[in-house]
């Protein structure tokens, strides 16, 4: 079946004209129509444009052009601006917003011949860990539709797990790719801050936001990341450094001592404090696999990491409170009916256009930046952020990568944490550190607890995406956790 093939297999099929891009596109569109209603993972379907793009890709293929993603379908998280297509960011505020331009990520993939099928549901403005804050309703986890898929890229993760597309884009501000990837049993990578352009991504927390990808394997993720990455003059924080050929690194022949010979892996001590025994056991099983592949493991400590959640919940809201000021009902987006004056326009447009979690964070962010509180909150959080970054730097002096669980628990029930924001925030306890330090992080499936998938997290030094992908790829060659599909979506 076409949806079980890897990106390289699909690419080979297309190149050999065994299947056309139009056929491939129709196949996934049919799956979306059949499977999405129960999941609510896709909130905008662009079938007509997809078929036109597929036909165009078929012409390029017929003309002899080849490309890793040419003619292969994709779904974009609805945080990426897509020219002429609604870009809602999961919010009523942007329910009527048709983006007039493509985000750089979208443009790069489009140029590579990717065929966009539609846009994925998400937590409102990427604020949430369960995809329950979306204006378009919650997304269901394909492994158990009474459970959440994680967030904020919950629609992207669920769509990937349900094989609605070979790969799906996402963004990760505090774990929004890795946490849902773990909870839906797929592979997800958030690259180094600055590796992928933020231009055209509706901003949540600018110093933390980074785009990445969900796929069925590290090899597939590598193929996509190679095209998404690279310097963008439109994003001052994007880094002007060459993009390695990730795919080539994965294909390199194994060394004598095993494919990961010489790789030093650090086990994050702080990630195991209070972790349930069955979850911890899966991580230790994974470690054994890595050792069998030639890697050495040792324990490392990041003493300031337990402060990452409170630090994040100062920095991210502070930035979001400012980033979301542009949604004022004046130029685009939601505008309240018949405002009686300017203040009324502001108050009601924002009051009616934003959901509860977004408002909570705007309030928190406004507070921590206010005169008299700035030093105690924002400035102190920046100092702790520096300490966490230094902890990682120290750790990477003795190891190449650090690993641990992606989340404390498997997917929880819909509604279970909605009324308790702090418990919800703690779900990102393992993922936030990489964002604060700007490091690349990845989650790969590593087993099941109560028939629900769990994720193994890998974090590397800045620009070590190649190392992460390679380690994950060798792990996936030795295991088959990533190949499991939820029942009904095989």
């Amino acid at each position: 079946m076409l949806h079980t093939l890897s990106i390289s297999e699909l690419s080979a099929h297309l190149a050999a004209r065994q299947v056309s891009s139009v056929e491939l596109t129709r196949h996934f569109l049919a799956r979306i129509e059949r499977l999405n209603p129960a999941l609510n993972a896709i909130i905008t379907l662009t079938a007509e444009a997809a078929l036109a793009a597929a036909a165009a890709a078929d012409h390029r293929l017929a003309a002899g052009e080849r490309g890793a993603l040419l003619g292969i379908p994709v779904i974009h998280k609805d945080i990426f601006c897509t020219d002429g297509v609604r870009t809602s960011c999961g919010s009523r505020m942007l329910d009527n917003f048709i983006a007039p331009y493509d985000a750089t990520v979208v443009a790069r993939l489009k140029a590579a011949g990717a065929v966009m099928l539609g846009k994925a549901n998400m937590d409102e403005f990427a604020m949430g860990s369960s995809n329950e804050t979306s204006y378009y309703g919650s997304v269901k986890n394909p492994w158990d539709i009474t459970r959440v898929p994680g967030g904020s890229s919950g629609g992207s993760a669920a769509a990937t797990a349900a094989r609605l597309a070979p790969y799906v884009t996402g963004t990760d501000t505090g774990g929004s790719i890795r946490q849902p990837a773990a909870l839906t049993g797929v592979t997800g990578i958030k690259p180094t801050y600055g590796r992928v352009s933020r231009y055209g991504i509706v901003a949540f927390a600018s110093s933390l936001d980074q785009a990445g990808v969900f796929a069925h394997s590290a090899a597939d993720a590598a193929a996509v990341l190679e095209i998404m990455s690279g310097f963008d003059p439109l994003d001052s924080t994007s880094v002007d450094a060459p993009v390695p050929r990730y795919g080539a690194e994965l294909a390199a022949p194994a060394a004598a001592g095993g494919p990961l010979a010489g790789l030093k892996i650090g086990l994050l001590r702080e990630f195991f404090d209070g972790l349930e025994a069955r979850n911890a056991a899966l991580i230790h099983d994974a470690l054994a696999v890595f050792r069998s592949l030639g890697a050495t493991t040792r324990e490392v400590s990041l003493p300031h990491l337990p402060l990452s959640v409170p630090t994040y919940y100062v920095v991210a809201p502070a930035e979001c409170s400012s980033n979301l000021s542009r949604f004022d009902g004046v130029r685009f987006g939601y505008r309240c009916a018949q405002p009686k004056d300017l203040l009324d326009l502001y108050k009601r447009s924002r009051g009616e256009g934003f959901g509860a979690e977004v408002k909570r964070r705007i309030m928190t962010g406004t507070y921590v930046l206010s005169a008299g509180y700035f030093d105690a909150y924002y400035l102190k959080a920046q100092k702790v952020r520096r300490l966490i970054t230094d902890d990682f730097r120290t750790a990477f002096e003795s190891v190449d990568l650090v690993i641990g669980p992606t989340t404390p628990t498997p997917a929880f029930k819909l509604g279970a944490k909605l009324e308790d924001p702090v418990t919800m925030y703690l779900n990102d306890i393992y993922t936030i550190g990489a964002n604060l330090a700007g490091l690349p992080g990845m989650s790969v499936p590593c087993g099941f607890v109560d028939d629900l998938p769990m994720g193994l997290q890998l974090i590397g030094p800045h620009f070590a995406e190649g190392k992460l992908l390679n380690a994950a790829h060798r792990f996936q060659q030795a295991t088959d956790w990533h190949a499991h599909a939820p029942r009904g979506y095989e």
Partner: protein, 482 residues
């Protein structure tokens, strides 16, 4: 009644003359149809990001070097958060804790000839906001975002000025400087150069500053002077009648010539400044500074000092001729033809006839109807005694209104000075013969009649007699007198 001392600090906003905006590629030209020069970045569309215009940084550094300031090796853009319809992002990108330029100074020459140094606390880069339009719209306000994102250099002085005159002198000095540096067109009608004035008063001798009021958006030197005068009087009246000045923002109404309260400190926004995470710190190294330093022109103070030292001009003349880059260039172009030995003559003519002709027609120096070359030929004819200074004024008017050269005008109108002693003597003899009574009076001691005879001879020669020769010959022929 107490003796009050006035304390003034200015925040000058100079619009930098870059072609594109500070964070987007949109053009900065003035007067385009509303919103025709606003890109997605200027409109703050979701997902867009600012990219710093390097030219704006270069201009800021140029200014910093010109005022002897410290140029920060690392400066940071910050967000100033507040809601207003003409502020599309809901925040203004500015610099807060780490400005690009700090601790500079400028020396101003006051009317009484005393010079005074005004400290400049800082100069930072920021973006301008758009404009709200209310005219011609029924029950609605329009927003024009053409100006949004235009680069500004905000130049903040120390509270060093002690009168409205000092404030105006300082503002004029900055105005001159930014135009010299070619970083701002200085057009005050279009808002390219405007200021906010912080004004307070205190009993003379007291060290502690009084409570200040900030008068916003003054866009002419005259308004600065009048607004400060009004504000000082208001504060003194208030204090002398037992009241208190409150810290507030005020607006100057030029029609009524008064300042009015806009908002008090209590109503002031909490701007929640924090470093803009979309922009990297601006890193400026020594090499960049050296490159910019090489582009600095001779600055007004240096030029004035040179005019005094090398050309022998008075401090006043040197100051006037160096105050505008174009005027100085005109003066120097004239000297290049005429020779520096005649600098004083050239200075008098540039500041006299030329300036009044320009003022009369409200023209800039660059628009002068008489080029430096034509002008210097006229002056050369004074130097070589072809015409007198008096005749030269008539020739200048002919130069101004026509296209002929000075020599052509002199020849065509027969204005060449009579330097033949014999010819002048013949006229003097005739005048003396025709006025025996005046001659007798003169000889009996009425010295003042000498002028009468000069006038008669000039009249008879059509003003062309060489004045020095005339004086000498007349004195000899009248004899007997003083």
């Amino acid at each position: 009644m107490a003796d009050w001392e006035v304390v003034i600090g200015l925040e000058i906003h100079a619009q930098l003359a870059t072609r594109s905006k500070i964070f987007s590629g949109a053009a900065t030209a003035y007067g385009a149809p509303p919103n025709s020069q606003a890109s997605l970045v200027d409109l703050a569309y979701p997902g867009v990001l600012p990219v710093l215009n390097a030219e704006a940084v270069r201009m800021a550094v140029k200014f910093g070097l010109a005022i002897g300031a410290t140029v920060a090796p690392r400066s940071v853009f910050a967000r100033k958060n507040y809601f207003y319809p003409d502020l599309p992002k809901g925040y203004q990108i500015s610099q807060y804790e780490l400005p690009v330029v700090s601790r500079g100074r400028l020396t101003v020459l006051l009317d009484d000839g005393v010079s005074k140094t005004i400290g400049i606390t800082r100069a930072h880069l920021e973006e301008d906001a758009g404009k709200s339009l209310h005219e011609g719209l029924a029950n609605a306000s329009g927003i024009d975002l053409n100006r949004a994102g235009t680069p500004l250099l905000e130049i903040v002085s120390e509270p060093d000025m002690r009168s409205a005159k000092e404030a105006v002198a300082y503002m004029k000095k900055v105005h001159t400087l930014v135009r010299y540096l070619d970083i701002c067109d200085g057009n005050m009608q279009e808002g390219s150069f405007r200021c906010d004035a912080n004004v307070s008063v205190r009993p003379r001798g007291r060290e502690k500053f009084g409570t200040r009021a900030e008068i916003k958006n003054l866009n002419s030197f005259r308004f600065v002077e009048k607004a400060i005068h009004y504000e000082v009087a208001r504060q003194i009246d208030l204090l002398e009648s037992g009241g208190k000045v409150i810290q507030e923002t005020r607006l100057y109404d030029s029609d009524k010539d008064e300042t009015r309260s806009m908002r008090s400190k209590e109503e002031a926004n909490d701007y929640r400044y924090f470093p803009d995470p979309d922009l990297l710190p601006v890193v400026i190294d020594d090499e960049f500074i050296a490159t910019v330093r090489r582009t600095l022109p001779e600055l007004p103070d240096e030029k004035a000092a040179r005019f005094e030292r090398d050309l022998g001009l008075s401090a006043y003349d040197a100051g006037v001729l160096s105050a505008g880059r174009e005027l100085a260039a005109y003066f120097e172009a004239v000297l290049a033809e005429l020779g520096t030995a005649h600098a004083k003559l050239a200075a008098n003519w540039v500041m006299g006839e030329l300036s009044s002709a320009l003022n009369r027609e409200n023209l800039e120096v660059s628009e002068s109807r008489v080029s430096p070359a034509r002008f210097s030929q006229l002056l050369a004819r004074i130097v070589d005694a072809t015409i007198s200074g008096k005749i030269a004024k008539d020739v200048f008017e002919a130069l101004w209104s026509g296209s002929q050269s000075a020599d052509e005008i002199i020849d065509a109108q027969g204005l060449r000075q009579i330097t033949d002693s014999g010819a002048i003597g013949t006229v003097i003899d005739a005048v003396i013969a025709a006025n025996p009574k005046q001659l007798a009076d003169y000889r009996s001691g009425k010295d003042k009649l000498f002028g009468f005879f000069v006038g008669q001879v000039m009249k008879a020669t059509g003003g062309k007699a060489n004045p020095a020769q005339l004086n000498e010959l007349l004195k000899a022929k009248l004899g007997g007198g003083p």
